[in-house]
Symmetry: C2
Subunit: 164 residues, 2 copies
């Protein structure tokens, strides 16, 4: 952490997808069964991909580089009522960190082919972690307001959280 | 992103736990059934916690502030053989972003009481997201080398990824 209380990260690569604007982009991998994308990792980090190929899914951790500044309460895509920002997955966050458990289709050199992608084309990649059900899957956890939200099926984004 | 290609984040709060060093700290919430901690969110962000109380779990996104610099292949806690960094959940990462799906026990004002915590005391908090099984739970996903790793039970950390 710097003296001014900031933490600095640098992209480790770039995410490529069919989606060039938030409007119309799937809001979660579960809403994007048929979409494919590519993740290009900087060549110097290629050795860090060793043995990743055995995992069905990977967490992509990335920067929401095209979201508008955060507001503390938001009307999320799945509802018509406002909720606290930290009770939503809205992309306009205090620290714009996104995470998506995409399907891993293959790895060639420093490029990952991924499916079920819900991320804008050109998004800066911050980290890749393997998806491990023993660590990450809690299928019985209660979903608060989202469990009773009016929109329960696959939801696509609109422009409400886009940078003007 | 700045001209020098860095992305800047600022902590939104601090994570408090019983663990003061990596050695002996649980490596995942599933390894920490009986541990409790507190998450203090900066008072100005309290409105962003609205409606979070209905969720059983929350993702804490945080900075691994006491990990050593990253190496591209590592021998992770669960194995005796090296694997690519991005195929592990090791805390010494290129961008030291951690994520833990802890149990949410209660919220009072700007303080969250959480269970199953696997995070060092004093860790800078970057984001809170609700855990949503529909978005996050893929219990059937294959776990690559971790599915066959020698250590399958709860694993505690040692000092291998600590800052010297």
């Amino acid at each position: 952490m710097s003296n001014d209380n900031t933490i600095h990260f640098r992209p480790i690569g770039t995410i490529h997808s069919p989606f060039v604007e938030q409007s119309g982009t799937p809001t979660q991998p579960r809403s994007a069964p048929d979409t494919e994308g590519k993740v290009t990792v900087l060549p110097e980090y290629k050795p860090a991909l060793l043995d990743l190929g055995g995992f069905d899914r990977v967490w992509l951790i990335y920067w929401f580089d095209r979201s508008r500044p955060a507001e503390l309460t938001v009307v999320p895509y799945h509802d018509t009522k406002p909720h606290g920002l930290f009770a939503t997955r809205a992309p306009a966050r205090i620290n714009g960190i996104g995470m998506s458990p995409v399907r891993l289709l293959g790895i060639e050199g420093n490029v990952l082919r991924v499916g079920e992608i819900d991320i804008l084309d050109g998004t800066p990649l911050l980290d890749i972690k393997p998806y491990v059900p023993k660590f990450d899957a809690y299928p019985e956890a209660l979903s608060g307001w989202l469990g009773e939200a009016p929109k329960q099926g696959p939801v696509k984004a609109d422009s409400r959280f886009s940078r003007p």
